[in-house]
Amino acid sequence: MVGSFDALVAEMTSIVGVDAVRASDLDRHLFGKDAGVTRGEVSVVVLPKTARQVAAVVRAAVSHGVAVVPRGAGTGLAGGAVPESPAVLIVTTRMDQIDLDAGNHQAWVGPGVINLGLSDHTDPFGLYFAPDPSSQAACTIGGNVANNSGGPHCLAEGSTVNHVLAVEFVTADGEIVVTGSGSPDPAGFDLRGVMVGSEGTLGIVTRVLVKLLPKPPAIRTLLMAFPEVAGAAATVSGVIAAGVVPAALEMMDRPLIRAVENFVHADLPVDAAAVLLAEVVGHEAGVDAEAELIARTATENGAFQVRLAADAEERELLWKARKSAFGAIAQIAPDYYLHDTVIPRTKLVEVLEQIYEIATRRNLLVLNTIHAGDGNLHPKFAFDGSDPEAVAQVKAAADEIVEISIAAGGMLSGEHGIGLEKRGLMHLVFSPVDLDAQARLREAFDPVGVMNPAKVLPAGSRCFDFGRPVPEGTWV
């Protein structure tokens, strides 16, 4: 039964209360976009506080013939939280409970808990949550789970999926289920593993059991400046080859260094072609030897400056510089377009040279922050969105970056997700049979297509049988 808009709003209000429903034109407009470039259409926004409310919202939405789309803080860049067609937007920011089990290094947290807020909460117990996206002061754990978020420190510790032990979620039938456990390897399929990174298309996450790590007793942070990008890239490979996996190993190129320095004033070497920011953590007796190895490798590869952060204050300033890239770009141009491809780290130099070539040929300004240790590229084109020629050039350049990344053996997304924006590119990296398998998995969770439809997989992924299109709904 498809009811009217008013009936939908009335039913949502009866579930979550009048102060937790937003249905004005302004609200629907504001919530129709995330931090990326795509705009969608919202029917009504709800801000539930409990899993039972989420379950009731899902059941009500289904009965009205409307899909549901989950949203955390809206910091996503791929349109994962942007409804393609009018949907009930479930904003989880009020589900912000933290139940810490310090003895087990675990915590059950609501999806609306802010990433940095979780680590701040557990800090007095000497524990922290390892994934640290640059948006960590704003982004939510629910969003981190949806996109399998990374951040600079996932080089050594892995992305969000390595830090999620169990997930409570509301299914397409409006049931509340838990998969995973605080004890290792519960029997049955690892549905927890597929929930992470599923971008809200398999269920609405209502609680997450996270693994916490003990805070390292010692930290060393180094900034290394290179006259050539190749020297920085060779240092990345050299450090890994020498048997050290630093906690973080980040690269910034000259245009970005200059933009950031102008913004943060961290005394960055603005004459460098590239800088590396490396961090080693661990036992007090071990970090100096690792830091020395990194410094030596950098010097051997032509670094003209190696700066060891003298104290926590300087370390925080260097990290602030790295994590302020987006803010810094706003000084240069009103808009930026960002990619998130990931390549084998050994291909860094050749792919970066191609990116510069693309930018020069199309008369675009490109600034690069790179999670160099794991080959995750974030080229950012700064442009003026009111100039149609610039927009066309940026879009064409973006397509080329995807092509060269795939040619180098890479993938579409390292940590931002596919969302609406890259679903049309999935066929470049997966065969029709691969996509069909993913679509089958999705159907097992959501047979009617109510959960964040039109995301991740391209249209028509399921209607396929070894190259022969078959009518929708056919059992193959």
Binding site: N104, N147, C154, N162, T171, V178, S181, S183, P184, D185, P186, A187, G188, F189, D190, L191, G193, V194, G197, S198, P217, I240, A241, A242, G243, V244, V245, G282, H283, E284, A285, G286, A289, V342, I343, P344, R345, T346, D374, G375, N376, G409, G410, M411, S413, G414, I418, M426, V429, S431, V433, D434, A437, Q438, L441, A444, F445, P447, V456, L457
Partner: protein, 369 residues
């Protein structure tokens, strides 16, 4: 069946030859490619033949005995497909043994951090069983090493999930779904694994207080307790290993001295919250065990009548007891998995999505999946 056997025999050179330790089957085949497995499973689905993938047989006791029509050996899917030491990744055929993999990547002091005590087990078998090594405390479970998996679904489709890059969120995480699936979603043909550099120095230090050991070291590789006591496994630079060994003040031995897994007629894995490990050890009888502090897994040799009380104890604390191997008659008296997961309906639909006719290892997983 005889007709089918001869057809399959012609297609894949199969024989009635038995594999040591394997259950009786109409036919044993050893395909040499994913394409052959796809043809075989397409055929098996068409004729409703049940199929059991077989590596080295190391973990075939989990979930009880299966008597399939066809056993598919991964023997010919052996070898390194691609090793990128500078990217710390390796692609291996599922029939490659852990020892064989180590021999190659160990030459550059790299490791996939797979189980240390079963060098004869295959990579495909370890992934399918979802078992992890002792160093899980530091590096996480085996599934965290799994970047890409190629597998053949029950209805004969060759699917690749994930990618050969160390960080990726492009589509659903099929590799993690396959980890611990015991062959019931597909037959794994190759996997890409993330590697770790072997630390410069390693040491094994005895201690009498596992809780204190955690506080006196920074993220050791493992803290293992057996009947002989507790050992802390340290790794890193020489200086940090020495400093931590000195702080523990126990007897230190260079390198890792891993315990032998309990040799038992009846072996179980008990999985509980990390804080419950010491209390669980107190519940055990006289059999051998290895308990992983900080992880929450205990491998133990038990008498059949000890299983239910231990399972009850673990279940009451949110844990489980699963049977790793036992004599056939024991499986008749106890469910090898314990309570089925609450998501059983969903698990059944996932199974049907990949193996619509249910030909792959039917009945191995909880709830008869």
């Amino acid at each position: 069946m005889t007709g089918l056997r001869s057809t399959l025999g012609k297609m894949f050179g199969g024989s009635k030859t038995e594999i040591e330790g394997a259950p009786p089957a109409e036919l044993v085949v050893a395909p040499d490619s994913a394409d052959q497995i796809a043809q075989l499973l397409d055929f098996a689905s068409e004729h409703r033949l049940t199929v059991l993938p077989w590596g080295a047989g190391t973990h075939q006791g989990f979930g009880g005995r299966i008597e399939p029509d066809v056993i598919v050996s991964s023997r010919k899917l052996e070898g390194i497909v691609e090793w990128n030491p500078d990217d710390l990744t390796v692609v291996v055929g599922s029939g490659t043994t852990l020892g064989g993999l180590d021999e190659v990547i160990g030459s550059r002091r790299q490791s996939a951090v797979l189980p240390e005590s079963t060098p004869g087990a295959t990579v495909g078998g370890v992934v399918a069983a979802g078992v992890s090594g002792w160093r899980r405390l530091r590096y996480g479970p085996t599934r965290d090493r799994l970047l890409q998996v190629e597998f053949v679904t029950g209805d004969g489709r060759t699917v690749t999930g994930g990618a050969r890059v160390v960080k990726n969120v492009t589509g659903y995480d099929l590799p993690r779904l396959l980890a611990g699936s015991f062959g019931s979603l597909g037959i794994i043909t190759s996997v890409c694994l993330k590697l770790w550099p072997e630390p410069e120095t390693a040491a094994t230090v005895t201690t009498d207080d596992p809780e204190r050991a955690g506080a006196m070291t920074y993220r050791p590789q493992a803290v293992l307790e057996t009947r002989d006591g507790v050992s802390v496994f340290l790794a890193g630079t020489a200086a940090e290993v020495e400093a931590q060994a000195a702080a523990l003040a126990g007897e230190a031995t260079a390198g890792f001295v891993w315990p032998e897994p309990p040799v038992a007629n009846c072996a179980v894995r008990i999985r509980v919250s990390p804080v419950d490990v010491s209390a669980l050890i107190a519940q055990l009888g006289v059999g051998e065990f290895v308990a992983a502090h900080g992880v929450g897994e205990i491998m133990a040799s038990v008498e059949p009548d000890e299983m239910e009380p231990l399972r009850e104890w673990a279940s009451a604390r949110g844990g489980t007891l699963v049977v790793e191997h036992a004599p056939a008659e024991v499986y008749e008296t106890i469910d090898p998995w314990g309570v089925a997961p609450s998501t059983l309906g969903l698990q059944r639909r996932v199974k049907a999505a990949f193996d619509p006719l249910g030909v792959l290892v039917p009945g191995r997983l909880p709830g008869g999946i």
